[in-house]
């Protein structure tokens, strides 16, 4: 049987093509690779049919426990994705194209990205957005680097209520640069303003705050931002986009840059990626932004069209002087986000946020009735909250798996001294019945 490799060449084709080239064999085309440099090994299995590979991977997918009722969030959420999102983004005219370098044959992509940029600006309340970054963590890193270039300073103050994952990434990326980091402790659910103001000075390039923070707590950072600006520093927000259907936007709090993880906007959890980093900023910062940006212009007949613009910021033009090294971004995930948002519409986005909030409040009530469980209420929350358990949370999570629940994220994994704390996320997908069963099962395992 012939093996599949998606090539169309018949023996006759190869013969004719070699003749046109003037080569006697395909091997001759590789003559520039000296024999001494040829592959010392290429010990791979024979190819398999589509049927065999599909069956094999179906079996592996069945080994993953996706049947658990999910209350794990921690920055990455189990939201519903309308079928129309998949139907649209699975059009091959979208997913088998590449970066729209040639605008005349890429208007579909360019307009979609322009619409995505608009949606991100609307959500965040800021002026300009780029076409996407890899994920929420790299978006924070890029924003931090922007602030360092813009201020000429090298001190970054960050909220320890910001995901540990993102703080760890920031440390890795800057490990060979001279950047001073200060982490502000969380007190009663929020970043301590007292501590923050103590460290804020005229050497500070930026203050990075997350809202809602890792514990699900919501805050109004307007007062912090005002103070940050007095020192000539930039205020950077890391924000959960679904919450913006309801919560005060970074723009309303006067943040200079907003970043975030866009996974919750119609992108499957998919074991950690591909996801979507978004970034929006005040318009005066646009020339320091990383990544692709699409702009509107006109063609030679005066007709509206869209192009990649402000490209003198980018690596393919500026090379080592570019604002970032990013080339491929997450365009297809950005398309998911704008389609998702457009399907929901402006009232649907509010409703989704409201549903998440309401169900979470209900879950808080349900869990607070369990003896030995203390729901932390020092701060209002959006769709995630913290409970203190009478025993180690990781042990409880383990026991709850048998009951059919991924019941939350044990905070001791990221925060020392919080071994008995559990972080519980409730999205619009969770029903009242599931929440009540969660409470019953939790009571049973404690």
């Amino acid at each position: 049987m012939s093996k599949m490799n998606y090539t169309p060449h018949t023996q006759e084709d190869v013969k004719q093509m070699l003749k046109a080239i003037g080569a006697s064999s395909i091997e001759e085309l590789f003559k520039d690779i000296p024999q001494a440099l040829r592959a010392k090994s290429f010990n791979l299995a024979d190819g398999k049919s589509e049927i065999e590979v599909t069956n094999h991977l179906k079996k592996l997918s069945d080994k993953n426990a996706t049947g658990l009722i999910n209350f794990v969030g921690a920055g990455f959420y189990d939201h519903f994705i309308p079928a129309a999102v998949d139907a649209i983004v699975n059009r091959p005219e979208f997913y088998t194209a590449y970066t729209p370098y040639q605008p005349e044959c890429s208007q579909g992509w360019l307009q979609s990205i322009y619409e995505y940029q608009t949606a991100i600006c609307e959500l965040t309340g800021l002026d300009v957005s780029n076409a996407s970054l890899y994920d929420g963590g790299t978006a924070i890193y890029e924003a931090a680097m922007m602030s360092i270039r813009l201020t000429g300073r090298n001190k970054i103050i960050m909220d320890s209520g910001m995901s540990l994952i993102y703080r760890a990434m920031l440390y890795t990326y800057t490990s060979n640069l001279s950047i001073e980091f200060v982490e502000i402790p969380v007190v009663h659910g929020h970043s301590s303003r007292e501590e923050l103001f103590k460290h804020l000075d005229d050497k500070t390039a930026a203050v990075i705050l997350q809202n809602p923070n890792f514990f699900g707590a919501v805050d109004d950072h307007s007062d912090v931002v005002e103070r940050v600006h007095k020192f000539g520093a930039l205020a950077i927000s890391s924000v959960y986009p679904v919450s913006l259907g309801m919560l005060k936007s970074p723009g309303e709090m006067n943040f200079d840059i907003a970043t975030g993880e866009g996974q919750s906007l119609g992108i499957p959890l998919s074991f950690g990626g591909p996801y979507l980093g978004f970034m929006a900023a005040k318009k005066e910062l646009v020339r320091q932004m990383p990544g692709r940006i699409v702009g509107e212009t006109v063609d030679s007949d005066g007709k509206r069209g869209f192009v990649l613009t402000l490209q003198t910021r980018e690596q393919h033009i500026r090379r080592e002087k570019a604002t970032s090294n990013i080339c491929s971004n997450e365009a297809h995930c950005a398309l998911r986000a704008v389609v998702f948002l457009s399907l929901l519409g402006r009232s649907g986005i509010k409703e989704m946020a409201e549903l998440n909030y309401q169900k979470t409040e209900f879950a808080k009530e349900a869990l607070s009735k369990i003896k030995g469980v203390e729901v932390k209420r020092s701060s209002p929350t959006f769709n995630e909250f913290t409970v203190m358990l009478p025993r180690r949370a990781d042990d409880v999570v383990y026991r709850m798996i048998d009951k059919g629940f991924a019941c939350g994220f044990p905070l001791g994994r990221f925060y020392k001294g919080m071994e008995n704390y559990l972080l519980i996320a409730v999205t619009e997908k969770r029903t009242k019945e599931e929440i009540c069963r969660l409470a019953d099962s939790l009571e049973a395992v404690l």
Partner: protein
């Protein structure tokens, strides 16, 4: 076409949530709430579907058009890998599950995919180990540069420079710079190879690494690659392999055997995953023995009982570079592709990619000037300098090709070739497709002599004509406003 925001009508809905099944809670204090709604568009589901379906039809794509965009390897993306990535067992798995106590068992399928994909890439490239975490090629480069820095730091030296040739991708110097290095650029000699005299001049014990693409961006394999690597190693520098062009070498040569210490691979190029209009890609990074200890955390390991787990115990690791384990959905598609093609299929891929490029080069070299008179590998680079004398530039050729239904080759790159046209046909294109493309290129060469204005007017058959890019940059309009 109208913007989706211009089609908004209050009261329309494209999706409805379930009715709330919980009692109304006390509303959140208004001081935490936004004071005004967004201007996101509200439309019916059909409106949204029709809007984006019609937009999609304005794109050229691999499934609809020949797309010989050099350096991007726009090969056909098999459909079955899309279906596999959509299996709920893969697509709905929360990445934190294996980080819960006992949670490793909840994600055995996905952990096995990561582990096995890593093993395949290691054999294909001749490297010892891989991290699957980098989220794109350039992200792999940055990861690689950080690995290089960690290696030197561990040896107690702090080297300042990374060497790149002037033909390199723009991401190479950009990645080196943001990792904290200064960049030394080595010119390309008249023979199309990196100038060895200049290279030797700049190579010293302050150089941390040499970043090369192989075959290089001119589509040429440098037979002195091993000498270049040996010289770097003599001064203690490492060799970095930009895997953008790996498609040419599958089964023929391996970066590890050529002396490279750090390698990134663009899964979306060589291993057939879709480019998604500019991502998501994936840029796994492989290393030689000397750098294994520095790989990002966590790593996926296979235990003696044949289960898979996340391992965080690497003291010398550079740390965390991605939120989780990489662009899993992309890695999964590439893994399915590799399993399907297997050894012979991958070798054939390289052979036919090189055959197709040489065929284009052979049939076009009488009409366009070759950047360098050499046999090419997976892509061929011409200069439109001859055509430019008649006023027809690379950009004009590109626009005329669009009119004829072709996505243009990469133009004006590599930067060292005047009026560059970089053609990468890939192995999945048939002789018939190449023949009509070649005929079109020949037609353009003739028009350049007879009717250059005709070429310069293009495109005429597209929904829009040439766009005013200067205006876009001078008066940026980057979003719709109500």
């Amino acid at each position: 076409m109208q913007l989706i925001y211009e089609k908004h009508k209050e009261g329309r809905r494209g999706f409805c949530f379930s009715k709330p099944d919980v009692p109304q809670a006390k509303p959140l204090d208004v001081k935490y709430c936004r004071s005004k709604d967004t201007n996101i568009a509200s439309l019916s589901e059909l409106d949204v579907v029709r809007h984006y379906t019609n937009l999609s039809r304005l794109n050229f794509s691999v499934d609809t058009n020949f797309y010989p965009l050099g350096s991007c390897t726009m090969k056909y993306n098999p459909k079955f890998t899309e279906r596999i990535a959509a299996f709920e067992g893969f697509s709905q798995l929360h990445p934190l599950l294996p980080q819960l106590a006992g949670g490793g068992m909840l994600a055995q399928g996905s952990l096995e995919v990561l582990y096995e994909a890593e093993k395949l890439l290691a054999e294909i490239t001749g490297m010892i180990a891989f991290t699957m975490q980098p989220l794109a090629g350039a992200h792999g480069e940055l990861t690689g540069a950080m690995l290089i820095a960690a290696y030197h730091k561990d040896k107690g030296s702090r080297r300042k420079y990374i060497i790149v040739p002037d033909s390199s991708h723009g991401t190479n110097p950009a990645s080196a710079a943001i990792a904290g290095y200064q960049v030394i650029v080595i010119p390309t000699g008249k023979d199309g190879y990196m100038d060895l005299e200049q290279y030797k001049k700049y190579l010293n014990s302050d150089v941390a690494a040499v970043m090369l693409t192989c075959p290089d961006t001119l589509g040429i394999f440098n037979p002195q690659i091993k000498e270049i690597a040996d010289m770097a190693h003599e001064v203690g520098a490492l060799m970095y392999y930009d895997g953008a062009n790996l498609n040419a070498l599958l089964g023929k040569a391996r970066p590890g055997d050529l002396g490279f210490d750090v390698v990134h691979i663009n899964l979306h190029k060589t291993f057939g995953t879709p480019h998604g209009g500019g991502g998501p890609g994936a840029g796994p990074v492989g290393v030689s023995e000397a750098l294994v200890d520095f790989l990002p955390k966590p790593r996926v390991v296979r235990r003696s009982d044949a289960t898979y787990a996340l391992d965080y115990h690497y003291n010398k690791s550079i740390g965390y570079i991605a939120p989780f384990y990489g662009n899993f959905g992309v890695i999964l598609k590439a893994y399915a592709y590799m399993l399907c093609l297997g050894k012979d299929g991958l070798i054939k891929t390289a052979e036919l990619a090189v055959l197709n490029a040489n065929y284009c080069q052979a049939r076009l070299k009488d009409y366009y000037d070759l950047a360098f008179e050499k046999a090419c590998m997976h892509e061929c680079v011409f200069s439109a300098a001859r055509q430019a004398k008649n006023g027809v530039h690379a950009i004009d050729i590109a626009k005329y090709l669009i009119d004829k239904g072709y996505h243009p080759p990469t133009v004006y790159f590599p930067l060292i070739v005047k009026e560059a046209l970089m053609i990468e046909p890939t192995e999945t294109e048939s002789k018939e497709t190449l023949d009509v493309f070649i005929e079109t290129m020949i037609e353009i060469a003739r028009l350049t002599e007879d009717d250059p204005i005709r070429v310069k007017q293009a495109p005429l058959n597209m929904p829009i004509k040439r766009l005013d890019e200067t205006r876009a940059a001078r008066e940026p309009n980057l979003r719709w406003k109500s």
